[in-house]
């Protein structure tokens, strides 16, 4: 009997709840809409549309004539563009490798040192992070002055300590300019991996480290066998953020060497090449070609997509293991 009574009561309550719910869902959709509209109109759609434009060509800023894969053919086979494109692509990978090697290794070192909670760790942390708050443009110009062959502090300092033979036009030498701008960029951003890895290290339970130490594990052993494996997800995020950031890096080239990555395109990165082809106009023609630029952007997009997918696969495998 009781059960029979309960059923209609419950269903009407369920109905009421459902209509409540529908009302709330309508409100939520209204809440979502403004952000969604702006995000689609000025980010998602332009991104996809730029990929589409890589199949078009046209004079000035209006690629409106469909040419199929012609832009890609130009980019990959026409000697001038092919050389510039693959040079910029190679340089960007070197740029990324130096960031992994210098920026992220230093970040791991600083994070490990700061995690000991030694006196003054907050002050150190604050200082390490300062450059990341400055504009790349500003630090780039600043380092350009410091690296100035005649007046700059670096050569000045080298001469002062008797290493004058090492002094050189740091940004004028195609052999070193890419390394120099990579190091300046690493100097700027090292605070980010430091902070992320530090947060990761501090999240490792103390008991775990304590137990290992009681078992007689050396600090070295604890670092490699316990801390690094537990940090793996954070290291993954740091790496992928570095990768995406590096394939987007333009300001540092622009500030330190000019938009062509001079001398001899030795510091030309994929983003500066993109800027020249699409916006500023690339050398012999010096006329912007937005269709070709869109092809460069599309290639970059797929490289980033490959990187992010790789990271997601690794992440999932790690999470399962």
């Amino acid at each position: 009997m009781e059960q029979a009574n309960a059923v209609p009561l419950q269903s009407s309550r369920a109905e009421r709840r459902a209509s409540f719910q529908a009302q709330r869902v309508r409100a939520w959709i209204l809440f979502l809409l403004p952000a969604l509209v702006v995000y689609i109109a000025f980010m998602a759609w332009p991104l996809l549309n730029s990929l589409r434009l890589s199949f078009f060509t046209g004079s000035g800023y209006t690629p409106d004539h469909f040419v199929g894969f012609d832009n890609y053919r130009t980019l990959f086979t026409e000697p001038y563009y092919r050389d510039r494109f693959f040079n910029a692509l190679g340089n960007t990978f070197v740029f990324f490798a130096i960031h992994m090697l210098v920026q992220n290794t230093l970040g791991l070192l600083f994070a490990t040192l700061l995690a000991t909670g030694l006196r003054g760790h907050n002050t150190y942390r604050t200082i390490i992070f300062i450059p990341a708050t400055l504009a790349v443009l500003v630090t780039g110009f600043l380092w350009r002055l410091i690296l100035n062959p005649q007046w700059g502090a670096i050569n000045f300092g080298l001469k002062a300590v008797g290493l004058g033979a090492w002094a050189r036009p740091w940004l004028g030498d195609p052999q070193v300019v890419l390394i120099v701008i990579s190091l300046v960029s690493s100097w700027q951003w090292v605070g980010l991996p430091t902070m992320m890895l530090l947060a990761g290290l501090l999240a490792i339970p103390d008991e775990l480290l304590e137990a290992a130490r009681i078992d007689g594990a050396s600090a070295w052993h604890v670092f490699w066998r316990i801390k690094i494996p537990l940090l793996a997800p954070v290291i993954g995020i740091v790496s992928i953020l570095t990768f995406v950031g590096n394939f987007n890096a333009f300001d540092v080239v622009f500030a330190m060497t000019g938009p062509r990555g001079d001398p001899k395109y030795a510091a030309d990165l994929i983003a500066s090449f993109f800027y020249r082809t699409a916006i500023a106009g690339e050398h012999p023609v010096a006329r912007p070609d937005m269709g070709l630029g869109a092809a460069v952007a599309t290639c970059t997009f797929f490289i980033l997509l490959a990187g992010v997918s790789l990271w997601l696969v690794f992440n999932r495998r790690n999470a399962e293991a």
Partner: protein, 275 residues
């Protein structure tokens, strides 16, 4: 005094050395910006013997930094306000609504964290042209709001999810509208997260060079970073002027950072560890 172990000494040495590497360029920038031109070359690292603010006044009036500053301040503040408003509205909906569609929208927003908006530059340029916004500082507004929304929705949604559901449901049962719950229950609770989001987006917006470089030429519409590129070329040989320009453009964020270092660091690493 406690005896210091060798490891502690080595740790301090490494960190101190790096701090010098960080601070030295900034020190030379600030210190030389107030020296007369020739003093810079005579003693590049010493404290100034005579102080001059010539570089600053030159940048401010002759270099029209007054205009650039106003433009940058305007576009940064309006963008951040809009991002916080639109982002928190969306985050409230995403955190409350549990369905396939809301999860899809969430993933859609998050995807923007990994794909730089610059790859859409070509079409954005056309859109800005069609809207008649070229050579107008307002052209930056929709772009900055759009590029900031992924991190805003991500951080705020995670934060609002942490607010006990009973709190919201209780307010709802009491007859409060969704808007009331959002404005008077949720917003006051997530204020720290709003600060985080504001700080996180402040840096890339203030420091952005790419979009002003492409959208804006007109002097009256230039931002600070665009001004820095132009003045750097103009002042090639006058280092007092250049350094004053660089210091001036870096100062607002530098001061804000030193005042709110903890929030900055928290903001910039938000979600990274969790993810």
């Amino acid at each position: 005094m406690r005896k210091l172990s060798a490891t502690t000494v080595a740790t301090h040495a490494v960190l101190l050395a790096w701090c010098l590497v960080v601070l030295f360029p900034i020190y030379t920038m600030v210190i030389n910006s107030v020296k007369p031109r020739l003093d810079i070359f005579k003693s590049p690292f010493g404290l100034p013997k005579t102080i001059t603010f010539e570089g600053y006044t030159n940048a401010w009036s002759a270099g029209r930094f007054d205009i650039y500053f106003r433009n940058s301040l305007f576009i940064t503040l309006v963008s951040l306000t809009l991002v916080l408003f639109l982002g928190s509205l969306a985050a409230y909906a995403l955190a409350s609504w549990n369905s396939r569609w809301s999860r899809l929208a969430y993933i859609f927003f998050i995807a923007g964290l990994m794909i730089p908006i610059r790859l859409g530059t070509i079409n954005l340029f056309q859109i800005i042209q069609r809207l008649g916004l070229t050579d107008n500082v307002l052209s930056l507004l929709p772009v900055y709001v759009a590029m900031s929304l992924p991190i805003a929705t991500f951080v705020l949604t995670e934060f609002i999810r942490g607010v006990p559901g009973e709190l919201r449901d209780a307010a709802y049962v009491d007859g409060a509208s969704e808007w009331r719950i959002y404005a008077s229950v949720i917003m006051p609770l997530v204020r720290p997260a709003l600060a985080t989001v504001a700080i996180f987006n402040l840096i890339p917006i203030w420091n952005d060079l790419w979009f002003p470089l492409i959208f804006i030429r007109e002097e009256s519409q230039r931002t600070v970073m665009l001004g820095v590129t132009l003045l750097f070329g103009q002042y090639q040989t006058n280092w007092t002027n250049i350094l004053a320009v660089l210091t001036l453009s870096a100062l607002p964020l530098l001061v804000l950072y030193l005042l709110f270092a903890k929030q900055f660091i928290k903001g910039l690493t938000a979600g990274a560890v969790k993810g």
